[in-house]
Symmetry: C2
Subunit: 266 residues, 2 copies
Amino acid sequence: MGEDVTRRNFLTIAGAAVGGLAVGAVGGYTLIPPKETIVEVPRDVEVEMPVPEWPWAYPRFDVEAVKVRAYDAYFVSGCAYGAFEGILGELRENVGFPFNTVPSKMMVFGKGGGLGWGTLCGALNGALAAVNLLTSEYGAVGGEIIGEYTETAYPTWKPDETVKTDADLPTSVAGSPLCHVSVTKWCEESGFASGSIERKERCGRLTGEVAGRSAEMLNTLLDGAFVPVFQIPESTTTCNNCHYDTGSVANVHAISDCVQCHGETH
Amino acid sequence: MGEDVTRRNFLTIAGAAVGGLAVGAVGGYTLIPPKETIVEVPRDVEVEMPVPEWPWAYPRFDVEAVKVRAYDAYFVSGCAYGAFEGILGELRENVGFPFNTVPSKMMVFGKGGGLGWGTLCGALNGALAAVNLLTSEYGAVGGEIIGEYTETAYPTWKPDETVKTDADLPTSVAGSPLCHVSVTKWCEESGFASGSIERKERCGRLTGEVAGRSAEMLNTLLDGAFVPVFQIPESTTTCNNCHYDTGSVANVHAISDCVQCHGETH
């Protein structure tokens, strides 16, 4: 940060930011409108975050509401925004602070596996970010979300009010968390083009399902009843015996299915 | 969200959250400590977000400071957290609100290409989320960050104070935004194991570089001088003539290099 950024900037920006709020009581505090004077605070003062410590405690989710919200949000700004907004939007609307301080739009980039590059499925990216915001158990829950995704025949769920088509759609199992693999497998199974309204509808429903399952797991976690069941494919553990971090080859640091892309190479 | 979540919860949570702040002036507003009474707000009142509209205006970055912060943060919670915190941490510390309302820990999941699954490089994931928070031009800037990543020989930068090793490290070009491809190519080029301290040091430096380049592009954007230069590989555009969305095959919705994984199949 350049030397030209001082607390004066901080106070000016902050003043502008909350300026849109009506004067009144927020969080029990009374907000008194700013005066013309800018208060200087010494630079070495530690600024405490005005939000709770991470992770942010959450209440029980209405899973169906999360699904529908994620599905609808998909058609606003894509899969990653959709899944993130499905979860965070529920919290923002029903709880408010601190969930209303994180703009869901920050996750739009995840669409199409990262701005269309076909890597991590955006629905996973958005859901994982939301889960990671809400629990220190993001590793166990997130691993289960990814693992389950690779084995699930999507889409199996349909909202009452669909956007692109109300048709029941063919399903496919991705075997991978990659957007590219997931979409192409579905196109090949279904015969629909990747640019078709059916493919978009499929990804919208999938976004609802991934967000919904994430919310469901978060609920189970609240009950102290979360038990992950996904097992890494045996082919991967076999390959990684030699290829992972400290094996005899040790040129891989990943747990995705090896055989899907590399085939049975030995 | 269950019916048991009411505005009373919202106000209670909000009060608890800001309760840790010293009484004083923030953003020009005077904070008056909460009284014992809880103010009830009717449920149908629209709760305005207490942060600016997305995207959040940012000041010029000190690029070297972003690199060092991202590098150091990598060794706290991994690549995605590292890149995100490199950018957001600078803003939180030097500007404050609203950047101090988003916990960087929400991006930890991106490590190892998504909890170790080897998909989108976590440094990219974290940097893209930060960029997406700060500008509506996240598509152009983010596409350039990803594209440049695929063509860059990492690591080329080293901080003054290294964590794992001070050695100059071999470099490799990933040709892909995938963690798995990026790490394995480097292991093969360098001869170091994926579990080695050198590989971790390499990913730490790469995290610094990706965050730094993102900050540099954000600076250029502030100047109105951002011009993306990355071009999608010709092999990809050739394949996608038929395979993309509305082509004659139309079974692909991705722009990553096709030949790297699929070879010259026709």
